[in-house]
Symmetry: C2
Subunit: 513 residues, 2 copies
């Protein structure tokens, strides 16, 4: 499977096609198709050393598959050496197994115009994932609720530059842990028509995600097509726990995509050096991706790298640092050499407020992510305080910046119009371009323009209240939520989804564990 | 002259050598020597089109040398076609003349440890240049004074990551226009021991700059060595005014370096397209650099590109935009193909406050500048509000971020220690790297660490006053200024410089024009 094939022409129609008819008119950019080169930061010699060492790690040290006898059986059958829960993988085996994973795949959305192609030279942007807290200027920092969750899904739906609705945009802590995934999925499915992620916190919740997708897209469609991309974190160093692997097994078996992603705070879960961390990242991803292919050859999977480093003074993770950038570039090179889609970067920062620190660290990470060849950028907007907080203001601030990435990635045209020789001849030395024919013909689309930041002269800005970026963002959050329009959905589909959630919830007692 | 040669062993010693003995112990990083590749954004075909078109501009349209008969004579003698003040340059002539300019040169500082090498794979960082206003949290936005100027020179001297003291770090508006340059130069020479820039606002002021350098460095030394790099803006489109060219003539004749830099707000002073703007930039730089070589073959000169674009709604210049980034990359490629050092990028932003907007736009520009192969980055810190304001807080915020560029540029080591295989073996699956031998040996230098930003947990940060980045920066400005130590200077040199300034000031009436 190089690319999953869209099969909208099948008989019987189904929910996906019906949903498509009801899509709203909110303008969203197509995923980014890069027309610029990647920055190849490491040279071939360095990459070969790292690849050699990663094979040595798999062969000599091995990885643990915890509490998962079936996984050990699969590995044994594939030729690995099993010692308790330790799996030692002969040199070359993991990479060979990874070869059946597709280099690119389509993730379908209920609105087909919002399908995304993950891999190749593309970049798909998805919002922040996982924060237990939210923050806004008015109410400050607090535990996230399902209302916050729904608000962030709405903001994502309203964003022109986000291609993907994401997954746990924040943790709805007011909903029992064992039922949260149902409300989260229902929100993504009903409040957005962009693609989304499934639950990974229990294998049964992954199965619920698949079952709800069957209602939304139709059972036949889900069997043949990828409709979810879900986040499978590796318990670094070198440990694959049964919860995450259980979810991966469900998804892979159903041809649903997984991001296999080391979760590394360098200095704690990996060596303090960039090369050492890249070695571990590669070993972990090779083992995880190979395992996905043992579950089902051809299952779509993404090479993930979530890497930050520890502040040796405070013990806190740091973001937007040069070492993290170097790892982002290097891991991208390693992913391309494996022919796998690559996930990394995001709106990372360690700030407690959406202030200058947050923006310095975020902008550094976003730019490096673009140039590192990232194909799927989770956390592309909204991240604050090391990922503990989803920030309303920062969500719209970051989402606005993502527009600049689109324009940057489009590259530089040198067609006759872009050469502008007529304009140069018309204006000449000492002239002015504002009124010339070329400017008049192109000024509307020539330059990317922020929909949030302030371009006004000081005096105007001052008269309007001298607002900083956070205040501008507060106003924009309100405007977007006030203007939100829910994409329509076939009533039967909505009813079936609602019924599924209600039945599932009724079938088990609340649990906050 | 590939590289000017330092001649410290000459008899007689001189001010420079004496000054060196008195240097302070403020730690400053050596200029950046990149160990990472540049991003080559445009392909060869696009660059060749732009180069061809730039020659067409010079040949068919030409450039104006205004009010400068001597320049017209020089151009005529070199083979250009003169028509009034218009100079039309036959295809290939400008590029051929540029070939005598050095690809790299040393700018000497009075402290030889702070000499910088401009060109090659190096990056030299200099502070903001030109703002008539300053801003700080306490006193807000106001006209800059000589006290502010001295404060910024002190902050530059105290910055670990700034290699250069710059030039007009702000306009000392309380000093008459015709005398400002004397006080500014005296401040750079006495309050800093880093390299600096000369005056360009009148040819006579350029000559004063050279004369003061002769006092500081010794007459013989200045004759043979570059001790100033000065900013010569082109009056885009395609116009070379007599003030700037007069200053360039003085500097080139004295083997002092000039940045020949188009000053372009795209859409106003250049076409609205990236390729069209690059064509104009190249034509202008070729004409300006060629002219410097007509004045004196071998004079050191830098390919400059200051390019922003206009906001078509407000008419204001915008910063940190994708089009500006593309031009920064493209102009760097064109400069390298000419074998010239390259100046571009900086802490550009259009914000009125050192807030998230300022940081997003700045971080984007700094990162793109690093990866675009910039050799001399003017405005690397302190820029606010489109360059109208030098911000105290942003100066230290940006200067801190410049540290990250140093680490990023150092590249990724794959030596045995960096490979960290011992650490991977020691820790193994499920282990922890904090205590392992490799971490203990390297943790102090492994990760770049901000000296400004907040890495503390939320609770600690909250107890300490919940300060945003601007508040942290206010405290850092105060700390640096309180801790400032003036580099010592031979009393005779100080006396001679002070006497020169006093005599010059007494020789003319004040003028604020």
């Amino acid at each position: 499977m190089e690319t999953t094939t869209r099969k909208r022409s099948r008989s019987g129609g189904g929910a996906a096609r019906r949903a498509a008819r009801g899509s709203t008119a909110v303008e969203t950019a197509r995923f980014i198709e890069r027309n610029i080169p990647n920055l190849e930061l490491l040279n071939d010699e360095a990459l070969e050393i790292i690849e050699h060492n990663a094979e040595t790690v798999l062969e000599e040290i091995g990885v643990n598959f915890v509490n998962n006898p079936a996984a050990l059986e699969r590995w044994k059958a594939a030729g690995a050496e099993i010692d308790g829960e330790r799996v030692r993988i002969p040199r070359g085996l993991a990479r060979k197994l990874c070869a059946t994973a597709p280099s690119s795949f389509t993730q379908h959305a209920r609105n087909p115009a919002r399908n995304v192609e993950i891999g190749g030279r593309n970049l798909v942007l998805a919002p922040v994932y996982g924060p237990p807290f939210v923050h806004d200027a008015e109410k400050g920092r607090r535990y996230a609720t399902i209302e916050d969750f729904r608000n962030f899904v709405k903001l994502g739906q309203m964003s022109r530059w986000l291609h993907h609705s994401g997954g746990t945009v924040c943790e709805p802590t007011d909903i029992p842990v064992n039922k949260r995934h149902l409300d989260m999925l229902l929100a993504h499915m009903t409040l957005s028509d962009k693609p989304f992620m499934g639950s990974v916190t229990e294998p049964s919740r992954a199965q619920d995600s698949v079952d709800m997708c069957k209602i939304l897209f139709g059972e036949e469609f889900v069997r043949d097509n990828t409709v979810m991309t879900s986040l499978i974190n590796i318990n670094s160093p070198l440990t694959f726990d049964d919860t995450m692997m259980g979810a991966l097994e469900i998804y892979a078996a159903n041809m649903q995509a997984c991001i296999v992603s080391p979760f590394i705070v360098g200095g704690a879960m990996a060596p303090v050096s960039v090369a050492g961390t890249l070695t571990q990242v590669l070993a972990e991803v090779m083992a995880g991706v190979a395992y996905s292919q043992l579950v089902r050859a051809g299952a779509p999977v993404i090479f993930g790298a979530f890497v930050t480093s520890i502040d040796m003074n405070s013990g806190a993770p740091t973001f937007g640092t040069p070492e993290a950038a170097q790892i982002t570039y290097g891991a991208g090179q390693l992913a391309r050499r494996m022919g796998l889609p690559y996930r990394s970067a995001g709106s990372f920062n360690g700030s407690k407020l959406p202030d200058a620190q947050a923006a310095y660290e975020t902008a550094s990470t976003l730019h490096n992510g673009l140039l590192a060849g990232v194909n799927f950028m989770l956390h592309a907007c909204g991240w604050l305080e090391g990922g503990l907080v989803a920030s309303y203001e920062k969500f719209v601030m970051d989402a606005d910046q993502l527009g600049a990435l689109h324009k940057m990635a489009a590259g530089v045209s040198v067609d006759e119009s872009a050469q502008a020789m007529d304009a140069l001849r018309e204006v000449g030395p000492g002239g002015h371009y504002l009124g010339c024919a070329h400017t008049q013909a192109h000024f509307k689309t020539a330059f990317w323009r922020s929909e949030l930041l302030d371009y006004k002269p000081y005096e105007t800005w001052s008269e309007e209240g001298a607002r900083d970026t956070m205040q501008l963002a507060t106003a924009r959050v309100r405007k977007l939520l006030d203007g939100y329009e829910q994409p329509t959905m076939e009533p039967a589909t909505l009813e079936a989804l609602t019924e599924f959630v209600a039945q599932k919830k009724a079938s088990m007692p609340d649990s906050f564990m």
